[in-house]
Every structure is written in structure tokens, then in C-alpha cells.
């Protein structure tokens, strides 16, 4: 398995647990939706996977590398994990090119330029390369945030409620776009949502999270 999460526990205090014994596995290129109501622990799960929080117990493995176990904890900047935040968190003082290039510091100038152009082409936004985030619509900001997260070719992509800031009309269009981009790049992705339609349109599999526990899984059959 490409992603393996075993017996994950997390609590902000010693006696209360936000996540209880969460375990699941994913194949490479699979898109999994974590579906749950607010407070169910779905965003916390993403924070644990990304390394922004440390679990109280459990093991996380991605691409045969142990990111977290009883005696291992890989810092977030070394995990090769991409993440799209709920509000996108685009750096407001950088234009689109600089936002996308932020995670490419290991590349040469030319390679960086080529990668940014490839990302802009992927999301079909070449004409907005010099715009600042405040000059973009919500949908455009989301696509830039996606390109920024994909640019360093992460091992896994995490998306936190990626549609919560979009209008209903825009949502349907962007859902399909998002799935097609992720499939084009063969990206393994986990996204959390409270909206069943989001999960249905994008995911290959849905994990239902309730009170910090995965209570049910559903494989989506596509024709």
C-alpha cells in the first residue's frame, strides 16, 4: 500500500481524544474523501498527516517512508506533503508565479520557470501569471493554491474543505476540474469535506468519520 495509517490517536488534552484508533490504507493515485460533520476530527487528521500536529499514538507511512511512529517524527517541511488550505492561504504579497515557485527552491532558475509554466498550463491560468491573489476570484485562487501544492511533486496531496469558499454554481464546475487535474498528475490525494456531493464527484473512495472514528467506507463506482 502507498499510504498506511495505523491506530492513530490524537487529543489536545491528555484525557480527551479528537481521533480514536483511525486506520486506513490507500493505493498510489487513489483519491480518498474523508466525510464528516464539523468537529468530527477530519481537519485534525490532515494536520497529523502533514506533520503540523504530532499524534499521541499511531503510525503514518507514505511511499514506504515512515513519517510518524513511536520513535519517528519527520518535520512537516521534510514530508513531501502538499496541502491546500481551506482559505487557500496564498501569500498576499507574492504574485501568482512567486506563489507557485515558493516550494521549488531546490530547482535551478530555468527548471523553476519551466515547472511554474507547466503548472499554470495544467490549471489553465497562464494569463494570470503576474496577478496578485487579491486580483483573483475565489475559484482562481483555489486553482493557484492547487498548483502551488502540486508544483514540488509531493508524495501525497491533502485538501482541507477545498470548496467551502465557493458559490454553488462554481463548485460543480471546479469539482470536475479538480478531479481531472489530480488524475492527470496521478496524484494520491486525501480531501476532507462535510458535503457528500463533493466526495461523490471527486473521490474514488469515501471514509465516513464520526466523533474521531472511521465508521464506514464506500467505494465509488464510475462508469
Amino acid at each position: 500500500m502507498y499510504v498506511r495509517i495505523e491506530d492513530l490517536y490524537f487529543g489536545y488534552t491528555k484525557n480527551t481524544h479528537v481521533l480514536h484508533n483511525v486506520s486506513f490504507a490507500m493505493q498510489e493515485g487513489e483519491i480518498v474523501a474523508i466525510l464528516g460533520s464539523s468537529g468530527s476530527g477530519k481537519s485534525t487528521l490532515l494536520r497529523l498527516l502533514s506533520g503540523l500536529e504530532m499524534p499521541s499514538k499511531g503510525r503514518i507511512e507514505v511511499n514506504e517512508e515512515t513519517l510518524c511512529s513511536a520513535n519517528t517524527f519527520v518535520e512537516c517541511e521534510k514530508r513531501h506533503v502538499g496541502m491546500v488550505f481551506q482559505d487557500y492561504a496564498l501569500f498576499p504579497h507574492m504574485d501568482v508565479i512567486k506563489n507557485i515557485a515558493f516550494g521549488l527552491k531546490h530547482l535551478s532558475k530555468d527548471a523553476k520557470k519551466g515547472r511554474v509554466q507547466a503548472m499554470l498550463k495544467l490549471i489553465n491560468m497562464e494569463e494570470k501569471s503576474h496577478a496578485f491573489p487579491h486580483e483573483l476570484s475565489g475559484g482562481q485562487q483555489q486553482r493557484i493554491a492547487l498548483a502551488r501544492a502540486l508544483a514540488p511533486s509531493p508524495d501525497i496531496l491533502l485538501l482541507d474543505e477545498p470548496f467551502s469558499n465557493l458559490d454553488e454554481d462554481l463548485k460543480t464546475k471546479i469539482r470536475h476540474e479538480l478531479r481531472s487535474i489530480m488524475k492527470k498528475t496521478a496524484m494520491t490525494a486525501i480531501f476532507v469535506t462535510h458535503d457528500y456531493d463533493d466526495a461523490l464527484d471527486i473521490a474514488d473512495r469515501i471514509c465516513y468519520l464520526e466523533d474521531g472514528r472511521i465508521v464506514h467506507e464506500e467505494v465509488i463506482k464510475r462508469s
Binding site: 502533514s50 506533520g51 503540523l52 518535520e75 512537516c76 517541511e77 521534510k78 514530508r79 506533503v81 502538499g82 496541502m83 488550505f85 481551506q86 482559505d87 487557500y88 492561504a89 496564498l90 501569500f91 498576499p92 504579497h93 515558493f102 516550494g103 527552491k105 531546490h106 496578485f132 491573489p133 487579491h134 486580483e135 502551488r148 501544492a149 514540488p152
Partner: protein
């Protein structure tokens, strides 16, 4: 059209427009004077001294700005991002140097490092062959940095405590280490607060006269006073003021140009970064650095002043000292009340408006803080002398033996100048409070047929009480410390704590200056304590 104008006439618009007119007229006087025939004194200044003034002023504000920014951001980062012993105390202690007027710190340090001073004696006792002279440009940079960095600290601390963790977390996930995240993301997002704080530091440095006069550092405020008081050449002083105003506007314009169309904030949900406990050597070294800054900026000069106060208390603390303390307090209270009242009217007039006229009016009324005290003093004096000339027939009608100058020889002129100079300070605090509560409460009151004044008294003021108190405290501290305006515009034989400190220092009676200096510092310190500890109770959230 006429009905629209009539509909817009209310107490807020009338006070705002009159205030703007009263502020802009004295400034125009300065501009007009620049185009008049230059005097011989000006020719001399321009040919022999001006370049030197410009170079010295640039060196002074450049270094003070950089050092204040470094210390301010360091302090703000430490108390908002890290957990260590004494953090809560340092969090408000770092504001205390604001209570120490630069000129008082300058007198204390000059004395401490002089041959007979406490520090010099201590060095000799410890056999340390160190002779320090602070009465020069580096000394002035040292004094201004230590007494003014809290402006940067205060604003960047506020911005850091509100900055969403999502930006830093995102940068880390994109592979940036802690240092790169700080330099590329956290620091640039602090830019508006950092620039605003540093600009305040620069403006306060340009405003100072006490330090540069005592240290004989030939910068603009020194030159303006020299032209005005020693050469008796007001037009030359006005021309120098004009050049200084141009320099201030160039600094602001350069910053705007560099900023371009970038923005430094976006609405992003999420909590700020949690504080991390300092570990290892950092646990001792980093907080120690902050304590060293605090000792140098506040406690060391304060201790020196306390020592001198014990020596001179009986000779200085006389009935006339009580009178000048009352003078200082009454002047500061009246200037504060008028400033806050007009700022409140202005804030009401401008609420939620995108109207260009209103925005222009606001810029004019907030101009005062960008203009050094010496410049404002001269502008206001000329303005009041003109008013006295116009009103002279009325004075004669009331009293045939009336002198020609009435208003310009009273406290009205000085109070007016304070209001003009500190309006921006009061306004910004009140505007921030209005932004927090939004417009809905006020609009709800209007639709219930409540008048504007009654709404102001019954709805707005109780809701923005905290902002009003903050505004009043900051203006009060600024007024009570102010020196250049008071020196030029005070009526004859009218003394305040600030002018008394200056007088003693000029007469080399530094020990005697300790008592008035301490009263100034203690009053300001208590107010800073109130400002930093006053809890906001019952302030509603923005419901816009």
C-alpha cells in the same frame, strides 16, 4: 444638489470641515512663504549649511529607523511566538520606554558617562579603561533607538498576534525551514505594521529638539530652532521647514512606490501560531537580550533620575513646582479632550464612506503628525498673529487699551497646536474601534428615529469606550512629553514639566531636572500600564 448638501450638514460634517480648514490654513502659510523673496540668512544657510543638515538628518533617521525596527520586531516576535519566564511582564514592559522622553534619556546618559558620572566612575572602579561620549551622532542614534523602538514593537506585536498560522504552516509544508518562513512570509506580512511603526519613529526623531540641541547634532529641527530663535529669521525657519516637509513626503512616497499593487493581508480563517517554549541556550540568552534592552532604555536612566531626585528633592519641590505640574496636567487634559472630541466627530463623519471629499478632508486633518513640532509651531504662530490682526478692531471695541496680540499670547494657541499635531493619533485609535464594531448598531439606532447626537452618546460611545480611552491616553502622554511646540508657543513665563526639565538641562543643572523628569515618567508609566492592562469588557464583535 442643494438638498443633498443640506442633508449632509450635521454636527459631524461641520466640525470636520472647520477642523480641516483650521489645520490647512497655517500649513498653506508655510507653503506661501517659501515662494517669497529669500532672506540673506537663508542664502547663508543654503550655501553653507543645508547640505550638512540634509546629510546629518538622513544619517540620523536612517540608523534610528533600522535599529528601532530590528529591536521592535525582535521584541514582538519573542513575546508573541515564544514562551519563556517573564514573558508576560516583558510584553508590557517593552512599551515603557515610551514613557521616557528622548531628551530626558539623553540628559541622564550624558551625565552617567561624563567623567564624574555614575557609569564612568563604575568603569574606573572596575579598572575598565572605557570612556564613552554620547554627545554626538552615534549617541543620538542610541538614545532615539532606545526610547522610540516601542512604536515598532507595539504595532508589530499587534500584527503578529493576529497573523493566521495558515501562512507559516503553508510555507513549512512547501519545504521552507523556520528562518526562510520568517524572512519570506512572516516578515513581509508584517510590512504594514513595520512601516507604520518605523514611520512613527522617524517622525518622532525629526520632531525632537531636546536631544539634538543638547548633543549639538546639527539636524533639521536644530536648524529650524536656530534660524527662529538665534538668527531671529522666521522666513528662513519656514524655508527649512518646507525642505523638511518635502523630505517627509518623499519618504512616504518612496514607501508607497515600493509597495506597488502588493497587498499584505488577506482574510484567512484560523488561529495565530501557538507560542513555542524556548529550549537550551535560547531559554537564557534571548530573554536576557530583552532585559538588557529594558535596562538600557528605561531602568538605568530611571535609577539615575531617582538618585538625583533624592539629592535635589527639597530644593526643587517648591510651590512653583506644584504650579508647573498643575500647568502640565491641565494643558495635557484640555488638549487631550479637545483632540479626542474632534477625532470622534471626524471618525463619525468618515464612517464607511468612500467619498473622495471626505477622504481628502481626513488626510488633511491627519497631516499634523507627519509634520515636525517646530514646523507646526511656526505655522500656528503666524496663523494666530494674522487672526489677532483681523480681530484687533473687535479687541479695541471691547477694550480701547487692548494689546494688538491677544490670542497669540495665550494658551489657546498652544492648545490649538497640540490638537493639530496629535489629531492623527486620536483619530486612528477611534477609527480602529469603529471598524471593530461595524455600522449596524448605529444604523439600528438611526432607523429607530434616534438623532445622530443621541446615537453617538447612547450607542457609539459606550461601544467604543475602550478606543476612546486608548486615544485619550496616547494623546495625553504625547502632549505632556512634547517639547518643541511648547518651547515656541507657550505664553511668557508659562512653564511645564517638559520645559522645566529642558531649562535645568540647558543650565547644566541635571540633578535638579530629575524631579520634574520623574513626575513626567511616572505619570506616563502609570498611563501605559492602564493602556496595556485595561480589559475590554462587553465589546461586541463586528456584526457587519
Amino acid at each position: 444638489m442643494l438638498s443633498r448638501i443640506r442633508r449632509n450638514i450635521n454636527i459631524f460634517s461641520v466640525v470636520s470641515i472647520v477642523a480641516a480648514a483650521l489645520i490647512v490654513i497655517p500649513m498653506l502659510n508655510i507653503l506661501i512663504e517659501i515662494f517669497n523673496e529669500p532672506t540673506p540668512a537663508w542664502q547663508h544657510i543654503r550655501q553653507n549649511l543645508l547640505t550638512n543638515y540634509i546629510i546629518n538628518t538622513t544619517i540620523l533617521i536612517g540608523f534610528v529607523a533600522v535599529f528601532s525596527a530590528l529591536i521592535g520586531v525582535f521584541g514582538a516576535t519573542m513575546v508573541t511566538r515564544y514562551e519563556f519566564k517573564g514573558r508576560r511582564l516583558l510584553s508590557w514592559f517593552l512599551m515603557l520606554p515610551l514613557a521616557m522622553p528622548s531628551y530626558i534619556a539623553a540628559y541622564a546618559y550624558a551625565d552617567m558617562v561624563s567623567y564624574t558620572g555614575s557609569l564612568a566612575r563604575m568603569f574606573r572602579w572596575l579598572n575598565i579603561p572605557l570612556v564613552i561620549n554620547v554627545m554626538n551622532m552615534p549617541g543620538a542614534i542610541f538614545i532615539f533607538t532606545l526610547t522610540l523602538f516601542p512604536y515598532v514593537y507595539m504595532l508589530t506585536r499587534g500584527a503578529l498576534s493576529k497573523q493566521s498560522a495558515a501562512f507559516s504552516e503553508n510555507a513549512r509544508l512547501l519545504g521552507a525551514g523556520k528562518v526562510r518562513t520568517f524572512i519570506r512570509v512572516v516578515l513581509p506580512l508584517l510590512r504594514p505594521a513595520l512601516v507604520a511603526g518605523t514611520l512613527l519613529v522617524v517622525l518622532e526623531t525629526l520632531n525632537d529638539y531636546g536631544v539634538v540641541a543638547y548633543f549639538n547634532v546639527r539636524v533639521f529641527s536644530f536648524a529650524i530652532f536656530n534660524a527662529f530663535e538665534n538668527l531671529g529669521d522666521t522666513p528662513a525657519a519656514i524655508r527649512l521647514s518646507g525642505v523638511l516637509m518635502v523630505m517627509v513626503f518623499i519618504i512616504i512616497a518612496i514607501e508607497r512606490f515600493i509597495r506597488g499593487k502588493r497587498r499584505y493581508s488577506m482574510h484567512v480563517k484560523g488561529r495565530p501560531l501557538p507560542r513555542v517554549a524556548l529550549k537550551g541556550w535560547q531559554r537564557f540568552i534571548l530573554p536576557s537580550l530583552l532585559w538588557v534592552i529594558m535596562v538600557l532604555a528605561f531602568f538605568l536612566p530611571l535609577a539615575q533620575l531617582f538618585y538625583y531626585a533624592t539629592l535635589t528633592f527639597t530644593s526643587v519641590f517648591t510651590l512653583s513646582f506644584v504650579y508647573l505640574t498643575i500647568n502640565s496636567l491641565t494643558l495635557a487634559v484640555s488638549a487631550t479632550l479637545i483632540t479626542v472630541l474632534i477625532a470622534l466627530m471626524l471618525a463619525n463623519y468618515n464612517r464607511g464612506s468612500q467619498n473622495r471629499f471626505k477622504k481628502g478632508l481626513l488626510k488633511v486633518t491627519n497631516l499634523g503628525y507627519a509634520i515636525p513640532g517646530a514646523v507646526i509651531a511656526i505655522a500656528v504662530m503666524i496663523f494666530f498673529i494674522d487672526i489677532d490682526h483681523v480681530l484687533y478692531p473687535i479687541y479695541q471695541f471691547i477694550n480701547p487699551n487692548s494689546p494688538r496680540l491677544v490670542l497669540s499670547s495665550t494658551l489657546v494657541m498652544l492648545t490649538f497646536a497640540f490638537v493639530l499635531r496629535f489629531m492623527a493619533i486620536g483619530y486612528n485609535s477611534i477609527e480602529a474601534s469603529y471598524d471593530k464594531i461595524g455600522d449596524t448598531f448605529t444604523e439600528a439606532s438611526y432607523v429607530l428615529n434616534t438623532s445622530k447626537v443621541k446615537t453617538l452618546l447612547k450607542v457609539d460611545i459606550p461601544l467604543i469606550k475602550h478606543g476612546l480611552i486608548s486615544a485619550a491616553i496616547i494623546v495625553f502622554i504625547d502632549v505632556i512629553k512634547e517639547l518643541p511646540l511648547t518651547l515656541i508657543l507657550r505664553p511668557t513665563n508659562y512653564n511645564t514639566l517638559a520645559t522645566e526639565v529642558f531649562r535645568y538641562a540647558r543650565e547644566e543643572m541635571l540633578q535638579e531636572s530629575a524631579v520634574p523628569a520623574l513626575v513626567l515618567i511616572l505619570v506616563s508609566s502609570v498611563l501605559i500600564y492602564v493602556l496595556t492592562h485595561y480589559k475590554k469588557k462587553g465589546v461586541p464583535i463586528n456584526v457587519r
